[in-house]
């Protein structure tokens, strides 16, 4: 596993045994994204990183024990990309994942709700299905924090399957309530673009604060 210097870069937190997902490899190769196994993630990594990118395999029990460090990280301009179902809140006012009560095709329909650089030019239809099957993108939502902005809605009620929450510090959360968002399209170019843009998004808050 790569042990790059993560100071003021983004850090991908690897929680399972596997290598990083292929759409993230270009950012790792170019040095924009460092890689840490979650069991090795140190307070120094949190202090030094601009952004943290987590996967659906995140050990949420461990992550929740880092609440104070995470709060400080966000307050200082750090950004976190969260994929998956939130069951252990790691930040004040977070509430756990809510699965859809029914999962018919109409319940899984996606709709973009607000423009966002991660999704620019990518219609929801590009992530709606894989091999014609809906549901990989999401089957529920993680309730938004107060002041968050819904980006993608699911089902007739347009529940926020993706949302962004930003602090005046530039720090914030990008929350996606489904399979890892860089693996939800039949089109590998879409997955690659999403991955590249998420890394850029995660870098934006703290890098600005550092003038770098």
């Amino acid at each position: 596993m790569s042990e790059r210097d993560t100071r003021w870069g983004a850090v991908l937190i690897i929680s399972d045994d596997g290598p990083p997902a292929s759409p993230l490899l270009p950012a790792i190769e170019m040095g924009h994204l460092g890689v840490r196994r979650q069991i090795d993630l140190s307070e120094q990594d949190l202090r030094g990183a601009c952004g943290l990118i987590t996967t659906g395999a995140l050990d949420q029990v461990d992550f929740a024990t880092r609440r104070e460090a995470i709060a400080a990280f966000l307050a200082e301009g750090g950004r976190i990309v969260f994929n998956g179902h939130l069951l252990r809140p790691f930040f004040a006012e977070q509430r756990p994942y809510v699965p859809l009560p029914t999962q018919r095709r109409a319940d899984l329909e996606l709709q973009r709700l607000a423009p966002h650089p991660v999704f620019a030019g990518i219609p929801a239809s590009a992530q709606q299905t894989q091999r014609g099957v809906a549901g990989f993108y999401g089957r529920g939502h993680n309730p938004m924090l107060p002041g968050a902005r819904a980006l993608t809605g699911i089902g007739p009620e347009r529940l926020p399957v993706d949302w962004e929450w930003l602090l005046p510090s530039g720090g914030g959360l990008f929350v996606h309530a489904g399979n890892d968002i860089w693996g939800t399209s039949d089109d590998p170019l879409v997955d690659a673009l999403i991955a590249e843009r998420l890394v850029a998004w995660s870098l934006a808050g703290r890098a600005k604060g550092q003038g770098s």
Binding site: D17, R37, I39, G56, H85
Partner: protein, 209 residues
Amino acid sequence: MRILAVNAGTSFHIESLEGPRYHGSFDGVIRPEDLASVDPAGYGALLIPCRTPAHRLIPHRARLARYLHQGGTVIAMGETNCERWLPGIRFTPLETNWWWWLDPAEDLGVRIAAPAHPLFRHLTQRDLAWHLHGFFDPPLGAEVLAADSEGRALLYIDEVTTRGRLIVTSLDPFYHHGHHFMPATTRFLDGFLPWLVEDLASRARAAAS
């Protein structure tokens, strides 16, 4: 009923182990790292749910080996790379066919290999079929309970490699159940966990008599 389960903290682990449907099945839940200090000897079985990272179990191989030597039962579920932390495991991964069910004529090929086994008072063949991730080459004397279309083991019980019992499968029901999809995986756990509870109670009675 004495099951100690390991919780690696991923959302599907939390949902499966702490959610209302199954939490009553477990007498204790520990973190993988707790194996450094918690001796599972007081429990009839140590359950390692699917996709528990091997790198968090490898440091505890000696603890697991001691527990097996004492006669304990270790259940290793799918995608845990258990050949890296348990003795006597020979595993061959397969490229997963995620899409077999899109063709109504397709058959994943999972078969019950030991229909007389008490587990199959709780499970039918359709409760075993969602994905295949690989197969095992169990040791001589192990009992294969489920196999693929070529007769290769997907679920088996090994009471020959150690003085204890290994229940090993490449199936990954906790992952899908805890993600709220794939109903066969919920049916699998609905049958597998009650069978395990019954089995442990029966062994405890036999040991006491």
